[in-house]
Amino acid sequence: MINVTINGKEIQVPRGTMLLEACRQAGADIPTFCHDPHLQLAGSCRMCVVEAKGRWNLLASCVMPAENGMEIETESPSVVEARKIILELLLARHDLSCHTCERDGDCRLQDYCYRYGVKESRFAGEIIHFSKEDPNPFIERDYDKCIMCTKCVRVCKEITGAEAINVKDRGHHAAISTAFDGNLADSTCVFCGQCIMVCPVGALTSKVSMGKGKPYQVEKVLTTCTYCGTGCTLELNVKDDTVVGVSSNRDERYSPVNQGALCVKGRFGWDFIHAEDRLTTPLIRKNGELQPASWDEALDFAAAKLKQIKEASGPDALAMFASARITNEENYLAQKFMRAVIGTNNVDHCARL
């Protein structure tokens, strides 16, 4: 263990701990754009700079291991000035259309500009447009808002393993692009949306959720995906009793199977919930046609039919297909119904299909 002093508070950390981690342990709130605990370090955004006593330069805390006896200031005047300059440089190429942005209220750039009182940029000059019309139905790529943190590139490579996107060009012209600067659909992209999940700003957003609610207007309900047997945890985003999107929780304690990673079905396959042709009323076949009926009418009809068949032909003349899609509780009741109420073991589901 080594000793470091953060904003006057002395703490002990294991050798090799990064300064960022040490500062956070000491309770300092260090802003970051490019740092992500689950991804390889980039050390590129420099928002996490701190001042170490006796050093002439500021240190990027995410890539600098703490050293014994270090004395760190996390909000000194020179640190604050450096962060303001970074923010102003970012604003110089950022399309500040917060009022229509999907991430308004849940955006690190907004948060940090607010925190450091950065209203506009001294560096605003020639505007370069990076935005990209990409005709895929899943992901909106608005690179006029990109701050080049490269988290999307890293998550795509390290978590999904698709390697669909990378950084092209350098400096002021640097941008995120697929190979040959094409559309995602023509790349190795699998539309998992992990890039949306890590983007700290509104550069990558879901087209399916677009215009349906800002982050602070939705309630997030933790649940389990309805598709394959992997059982990923996801969050349904709800506004006005309507599902308007899916997000994911990267905390292992809440997302033990997938740590926030999803596939295209889990992340974008949710608007069937409100499809126009959802069944919302019972139907009974009358004169050869299925016609709307009340619950009592339909239940009475079904119960009478079941009773009649059971009496005439015995319980084994009835069978049930329960479902690999409904809950345990529902499957339990379904088989209990067939066994205890009807009196047959004719119950199965499509495990085999």
């Binding site: 033990p256 199977v257 596939c263 039919k305 009835l318 009741l333």
Partner: protein
């Protein structure tokens, strides 16, 4: 799965994938496997008739003829035994029946197996060595293994492979079926099967029935095994089954040989369907009850690694739709057996009392992360890895499995082998995904994968409509040219009702034990239109 998903990312030193297109069908598990291979240097063996995505990063890729799984695995076991790569201590102490298997396997030399499967003998040897020499090796398989007339045999031979190398009961090993549907594991655990009650307690066991008779307060529970889904369809066809209740399933698209299914359903006196949409099956019903989606319900799902997790209601039931459990209760009440529950939580509490492997699980305990069954008591931490010290029956039993081969072979009239499956952007019969705007926009139509050489021989170009037929029927769909499969094999998916692959598939012969239809192999013909 005998082991947990996380082990595939961290603990497995070798992974053998057979009959699972993991990156398309279980994508998040696919990410983890790829990560383990790329970052930790885990070895990867892929056996599949199609050169799937993960085959690109595999140490060995074996493209075997559809339906020859048993031969391939027996070949690997043959190499392991003849090269002395077996885990003798494990075989001696924890298994029985090894001698018979060893004797039966002698003839499956890699050279012989090569003639059956089309896989070079050298690759079979290499795969066997990688799997056997790894400190911990996991096998993962999916429907590519089970959906054959010999599906049970296929699984048994995989178990033999794991037993002979001691790859059970330790982290990173195991025999791991990747289950296709969110709660297929749970439906089985809950006894939605014709031969068992919850937690696989057999209906033919008197003490089991007595326990449930007491718990459910009924005089007598039925004591003979019930009909499987496929048997039920056949009985309906024969007129012996009169009434069918279908909850959230769509046999009119998911079952093999749809013409046969349709005729069977037509003969029923009464068909009741409970679903969220008017599915192809619901259209034929006498009464349809509107159920709700996962977003509208509370409860639990059990995933493929046996982890019981919470499902939480996010919105109110749409329109006049009712919770599926409420519908069952209402019917039951009308039939003179009162079912009164206030919530799914109350049903779960009842499940715990009759289901030993779930007894220690409560909604409180799984508020955050879920628990792996078996979890017999409130103090039990759950069981991510099965068979650690011993097997359920004590010793692990080897089974002699001989190669039989697929039921239908290509001939002059139907010269291709058709194999069916899923793709990344759709799920099962498409009831949900095809109504998900983005997924449908991205993949709006079905395709048949054809090797470019075959296509050019027949004058078929990419994207044009072709006719695909079998002895059961025919569909028209677009051609997709790809060399991921062999020239005499074609592949399509069953998500699309307008080009329903299951009009083509065989409903027979069923696997004699599991009663699974042979979706993965049938003889087919391809025509330019």
């Amino acid at each position: 799965m005998t082991n947990s998903i996380a082990e595939l990312e961290k603990d497995a030193k070798a992974i053998f994938l057979i009959g699972t297109n993991t990156t398309e069908n279980h994508p998040v598990i696919g990410y983890k496997i790829r990560k383990n291979v790329r970052e930790n240097g885990a070895k990867l063996i892929v056996a599949d008739p199609r050169k799937i995505e993960l085959a690109e990063i595999a140490d060995v890729y074996m493209r075997f003829k559809p339906g020859t799984d048993v031969a391939l695995i027996n070949g690997m076991i043959n190499v392991i035994i003849s090269e002395g790569l077996l885990d003798q201590e494990f075989v001696d102490q924890r298994t029985e029946g090894y001698e018979d298997v060893a004797a039966s396997i002698a003839k499956y030399t890699p050279e012989y197996v090569s003639t059956i499967t089309g896989v070079p003998a050298e690759d079979i040897k290499k795969a066997a060595r990688i799997y056997a020499e790894a400190e911990a090796a996991a096998v993962c398989y999916a429907m590519g293994v089970t959906q054959h007339s010999t599906g049970t045999d296929n699984v048994k031979s995989i178990c033999n492979l794991a037993l002979v190398t001691g790859n059970l009961g330790k982290p990173g090993s195991g025999v791991n079926p990747l289950r296709g549907q969110n709660n297929v594991q749970g439906a089985c655990d809950m006894g939605a099967l014709p031969v068992v009650l919850t937690a696989y307690q057999k209906v033919v066991d008197e003490p089991v029935r007595q326990k449930f008779e007491t718990a459910w307060k009924v005089d007598k529970l039925p004591d003979k095994n019930g009909l499987t889904l496929t048997d039920a369809i056949n009985k309906a066809y024969d007129g012996e089954l009169k009434g069918l209740l279908v909850i959230g399933e769509n046999p009119m698209l998911s079952d093999p040989d749809l013409h046969h299914v349709e005729e069977a359903l037509n003969k029923l006196e009464f068909l009741m369907v409970q679903d969220i949409f008017l599915t192809e099956t619901a259209e034929k019903a006498d009464v349809v009850f509107p159920g709700v989606t996962f977003a509208e319900k509370d409860g639990t799902f059990s995933n493929t690694e046996r982890r019981v997790q919470r499902v939480r209601q996010a919105i109110s039931s749409l329109g006049n739709a009712k919770q599926d459990w409420e519908i069952i209760c209402e019917l039951s009440n009308r039939l003179g057996y009162p079912m009164k529950y206030s919530s799914p939580g109350e049903i779960f509490e009842e499940i715990r009392t009759v289901t030993p492997s779930y007894a220690g699980i409560s909604y409180d305990r799984i508020e955050a992360t879920g628990l792996h069954w078996p979890c017999p008591t409130e103090e039990h931490p759950g069981t991510p890895i099965l068979h650690k010290e011993k097997f359920n029956r004590g010793l692990g039993l080897f089974h002699v499995v001989e190669y039989i081969g697929p039921a239908e072979h290509p001939d002059n009239e139907y010269p291709f082998i058709l194999t069916t499956g899923r793709q990344l952007y759709h799920y099962h019969t498409g009831t949900m995904t095809r109504r998900s705007s983005a997924l449908e926009e991205h993949k709006p139509y079905n395709e048949v994968e054809i090797h470019p050489n075959t296509a050019s021989r027949m004058g078929i170009v990419e994207g044009e409509f072709v006719k695909l037929s079998t002895r059961r029927g025919s569909i028209e769909l677009r051609a997709k040219l790809t060399d991921i499969l062999e020239e005499n094999v074609v592949f399509t998916t069953f998500h699309y009702k307008e080009a329903a692959a299951n009009l083509l598939t065989l409903s027979e012969p069923l696997d004699p034990v599991a009663k699974i239809p042979p979706y993965k192999v049938c003889a087919a013909n391809l025509e330019k239109i």
